[in-house]
């Protein structure tokens, strides 16, 4: 254990301390490191195997997938070409992108306005309003399916991509809370300085708070986008003709329809749609991790 805590440190001592930090690992630490590595490798293997199986199936034209093979014996793009020529895959992707990007931007705008009010302003309902809304929204909106369905039918808005987007767009109190906590970490001194310069609330909101909170805005955008790609219950209720299908609905049809016959095409579609999303997510993951924790640490 280091015991020189109270001593006056000379530059030379500092150098020694640095060398100490970079010292070779003790044998104990080395064992720990290798045990950790082996456990991690094992978990990585378990994580990757199912994904590899799906990838393998997508390049396997025979669709007889009980034959376990690491690499298909006659790899081909048959499943991919089938997907593009005999299904409406591109249309599903387009619909999902419209919905996902639309509600992603919409959600960020709606959330940011409210979070700004909760973080920087005083008003009646501030103290308990957000908590009440969060509890209310523990009620997933798909449980109100009959209510939503009957309501949209009366408005003649069934089977319409826009009404589907609208249903998904409702503000999220949890996102408001996350973003509010993030806004709270932006120093109030910046606001005060802007106030001195005569900035109004809109200017403080758009020029100070929003640019400084970009990581959290990105987190909310990505979460909303991913949510749209994963949503299927409301999509299945509202969107009824294949021309309006989102990616999820189309793929659900592929695997649950004529099941064994379409496994290869399903695998190809899964790979094609999962890879771009996974890459975007991977690139932004640093923001996401930072944003999540920043949101939960009490300032």
């Amino acid at each position: 254990m280091s015991t020189n805590a109270g001593q006056v440190t000379l530059p030379f001592d500092d150098l020694n301390a640095k060398q100490l930090k970079m010292r070779k690992m003790t044998s104990n630490e080395r064992v720990m490191l290798w045990v950790s590595r082996i456990v991690v490798w094992f978990i990585i293997l378990l994580t990757i195997i199912p994904m590899w199986f799906v990838a393998e199936a997508s390049f396997n034209p025979t669709n007889s997938y009980f034959s376990l093979s690491i690499i298909p014996s006659h790899p081909s793009f048959y499943n991919y070409s089938y997907l593009f020529h005999h299904t409406q895959f591109m249309l599903w992707v387009r619909n999902s992108l419209i919905v996902g990007l639309g509600i992603g931007f919409g959600q960020v705008l709606i959330t940011a306005g409210s979070a700004f009010a909760f973080s920087r302003m005083r008003f009646w309902g501030r103290k308990y309003g957000l908590m009440t809304l969060i509890i209310l929204q523990m009620f997933p909106n798909f449980l109100a399916l009959p209510a939503i369905y009957i309501g949209l039918s009366k408005l003649n808005a069934i089977n319409d991509l826009w009404s589907y987007m609208l249903v998904l767009l409702g503000g999220s109190a949890f996102n408001i809370w996350l973003l509010k906590r993030y806004f709270d970490t932006v120093p109030k001194e910046l606001d005060e300085a802007a106030l001195m310069d005569g900035a109004n609330s809109w200017q403080r909101f758009t020029r100070i708070i929003l640019p400084l909170s970009l990581p959290m805005l990105v987190v909310i955008f990505i979460f909303t986008l991913m949510g749209a790609f994963g949503e299927y219950i409301l999509a299945g209720t509202i969107l009824q003709t294949p021309g309006n299908y989102t990616l999820g609905l189309g793929m659900y049809g592929l695997i649950s329809g004529q099941y064994a016959k379409n496994w290869g095409e399903f695998a190809a579609a899964a790979l094609l749609s999962a890879i771009p999303l996974t890459v975007i997510f991977g690139l932004l993951q640093r923001f996401i991790a930072r944003g999540l924790v920043a949101g939960s640490v009490k300032g």
Binding site: F66, G113, A117, L130, L136, Q137, S201, A289
Partner: protein
């Protein structure tokens, strides 16, 4: 209201703007899109659902449904009512499912976070990037894919087990294995989120605490036990609770894998893996029993709302300091 543009200039004239007690009506303008959206798309459907729960709105009474009071809620708990045999076993399984899956995902995530948070492990970032993938893949796609992988006759998981000499398992057809499969698939899909949360929390623990502990002669194990675990728990708890509530209603994880099956011999409404959310969904779409579905939804809402409220009080996460 102040006549100055944007109102805050008026606040400025009164001196220190943040100590002011006067309420700021501009706040409502900033919140109006969210308030509008939440009122129309969250609150209105909930109120309508509450209304339906007190009626006999179903396929038989589609046009002439009427008010029946709390009859639906009595039926949920009355041992002589057919609805009770659907509700009680499904309620128990929903709790088992939500608790097991949340705890397993959390501890798997925590374990990996601790292993990866080793400063000697130079390549940890690579491992993390690989392990994050199941989270990044939309659950709709990955869970449907699992349905194919776990197929009894053709699935590659059974083929893999065959290589090790293990006989085929009826993953989606037997009550026990179907439940096991739901929890395992959700572990595969859910641990990366918990890992990310825990890694963030581990890195948020101030390094000085460890340094002073090591000066005081604390061992590696002691700093783990008395610093790391409590600190990480404190930071992650506000995220674990929503995760529990989410799993309680994690429709996708169950329904897209098993469809709620295998079916129970006693009733057609809820299978062995059906959670309350998927049972309510089936009652709405397949059986047109809007009244039962609405009543179950209300019960779900009360349970999750209560748990969340208790935990929010406990963690004080959503509390406003004024």
């Amino acid at each position: 209201m102040s006549t100055y543009p944007g109102n805050s200039a008026g606040v400025f004239l009164n001196g220190s703007p943040f100590k002011k007690k006067k309420t700021n009506k501009v706040a409502y303008a900033y919140m109006s899109p969210a308030i509008l959206g939440i009122s129309i798309l969250s609150i209105a459907p909930i109120l309508y659902t509450v209304y339906i729960a007190f009626t006999n709105y179903s396929a038989i009474h589609f046009l002439n449904f009427k008010w029946v009071g709390i009859q639906n809620f009595i039926a949920l708990f009355d041992p002589h009512d057919p609805l009770e045999s659907v509700f009680i076993p499904t309620l128990i399984w929903t709790f088992i499912w939500a608790i097991l899956t949340t705890l397993l995902n959390y501890f798997a995530g925590l374990l990996l976070a601790v292993l990866l948070n080793n400063r000697h492990m130079k390549e940890a970032a690579v491992y993390r990037a690989i392990l994050i993938i199941p989270w990044a893949v939309p659950s709709l796609i990955s869970i449907l894919a699992w349905q194919g992988l776990l197929n009894h006759d053709y699935g590659q998981i059974n083929a893999l087990l065959h290589v090790f000499g293990i006989p085929r398992i009826d993953w989606l057809g037997s009550p026990f294995w179907a439940r096991f499969a739901c929890i395992m698939v959700n572990l595969w899909a859910g641990f990366p989120y918990m890992m990310t949360v825990c890694l963030g929390a581990l890195q948020a623990v101030p390094q000085e605490i460890y340094e002073s502990a090591s000066i005081d002669g604390a061992s590696r194990w002691q700093s783990m036990r008395y610093i790391t675990v409590p600190e990480v728990w404190k930071i992650t708890l506000p995220l674990v609770i929503p995760s529990f509530a989410f799993n309680f209603n994690n429709f996708n994880a169950v329904y897209l894998l098993t469809g709620g099956g295998p079916p129970r011999p006693t009733n057609p409404f809820a299978g062995y893996t059906d959670i309350l959310a998927s049972a309510a969904y089936k009652m709405t779409l397949t059986f047109d029993k809007y009244d039962w579905a609405a009543a179950i939804s209300i019960v779900l809402f009360v349970i999750v709302g209560f748990l969340t409220w208790v935990n929010m009080k406990y963690t004080r996460a959503f509390e406003e300091v004024d």
